[in-house]
Amino acid sequence: MKLLRAELLKIWTTSTWWVFGIVTLVLWALTTGINWLTASATLDVDTTGMDAETAEQVRVAGEAVNVATNLYTSGQFFGVLMVMLLTAILSTSEYFHQTATTTFLLTPRRETVVLAKLGAGVVFGLLFWVITTVLNLIVTPLILSSLDVGAQLGEGAVWRAILLNGLAYGIWAILGVGAGILIRSQLAATITLSLIYVIGFLGAAIIFQLIGDRFGDWFQNLQVLIPGLASQLMVSGTELPGNPPRWVGAAVLIVYALVAGIVGTIITKKRDIT
């Protein structure tokens, strides 16, 4: 507990957290704006589709839930990236600023230091989640009502997506701590993680789009192994046809986080601090 408090104090006493916080808010506003446009487009198409009857109306209702979950979890794509970078810096800055010596003098049992960092990382991940979620809960009903759709807050799927979104933020925080240990250089870690996240996400999406069909459904389902796609899957509203179930997305991310955490701990224990 003492160590967790110390790690949190480390974050509070530098400017990193609020810089990342502001960047996250700006990106959240952008994403939400884009989601708004997408939502109105999606809903427009559906409501103007007059050709069908009851079946179609059910589909539209389902669509509204999905549109709503997308809006209520808005900001996740960049939010978890920022959380990952922030928690990676939690590890890399110990070497960058040469505070690792002091840290491990204080706590020679290094695995507890890693645990404290994971804990502090999760606290911050959840903080970012709480803030973006509160903003989404304020803004989304306004957007939906401007599109003549109800707030959808009675829907279980919406709340489940919001909670799973929190899980995603927590897991990405753990991934960040682990990645920061693996890539010791601050600059290298920041650049590598951002590139892998964004390019990996887009690249994978494109590749699966282009060649996925040739191999069939089982290959399409491998998409979930890409961390960014996995966390998106977690927050999809209802089961989408042709996609693996949501829990698979969570399981994939948890496995990544466990591997990052365990490998990070082992490396930290073995490394000479010079």
């Binding site: 408090r5 110390a6 104090l9 480390k10 600023h97 010596t101 003098l105 020679p108």
Partner: protein, 305 residues
Amino acid sequence: MTARSGEIVVSHLTKQYKQLRAVDDLSFTVQPGRVTGFLGPNGAGKTTTLRMMLGLVTPSSGNALFGGVAYKDLDEPIKHVGALLEASGAHKGRTGRNHLRVIATAAGLPASAADEALARVGLTPAAKRKFKGYSLGMKQRLGIAAALLGNPQVLILDEPANGLDPEGIRWMRDLLKALAVQGRTVLVSSHLLAEMQQLADDVVIIAAGKLIRQGPVGEVLGSMGGGAVVRVRTPRPADLAAALTAATGHVTTLPDEALSVTGLDPARIGHIAFTSGIELHELTGEKADLEQVFLQLTAGKADIR
């Protein structure tokens, strides 16, 4: 576990890097109530030894015990051992006070401990300034404050005088002496012999990772020719070197043709030159640099590494 005393016992400590044996079967003891100088030329293995003692670098073999307990096994180690090592920095964007508060929090000490430690090293006026704005001397003081935070029985400092001005060095010397007088164990490394002559009660001297000598400072320095180095320039270096060597001086020729002499003081050298009728262009008593003394001690025994 808690340490039973302030004694430090280092036994057969060895660190083998890929090609280099940085520390080689090194054993020595450090007593409470005294300042012990840990001396050796650059690259001798001082830093590696201290880091192994503190559990930061894993030894290839051997161990170091603080009152019978390894550092890693101490409960709340900074309350027994305080350390200031090279390359132990603070976050550039964090204030000095917050740096100490992080340490205090991790050690379960109240935030007021941070302010007391700052006052102790005279940094209170700079408490709310960021670390990146600190001078080298202020950074060293902050490091000392961190080392003293837990009110430890044992203090370990790696080249603490590096980058300090003469005023700062005197301050450090007085502080370390006062801490030893209080009965604490003080182990301080340096590559400068002169610095240690005024500070240390005992010395441990290493070269190339091996123990050269250990004991009270007077005894050890006496056996090393007093440690002082005199620089002499003359148009007839060969003749003077022969005369000085005959008078039990130890002479080496420096790259600029000057002679570097140990074992004789400037007055004696001047007298020898006078009686031999040799003209002198320069006669300077230099600060004893352990590295020079070492070069001379080990001259002829080359290949120490």
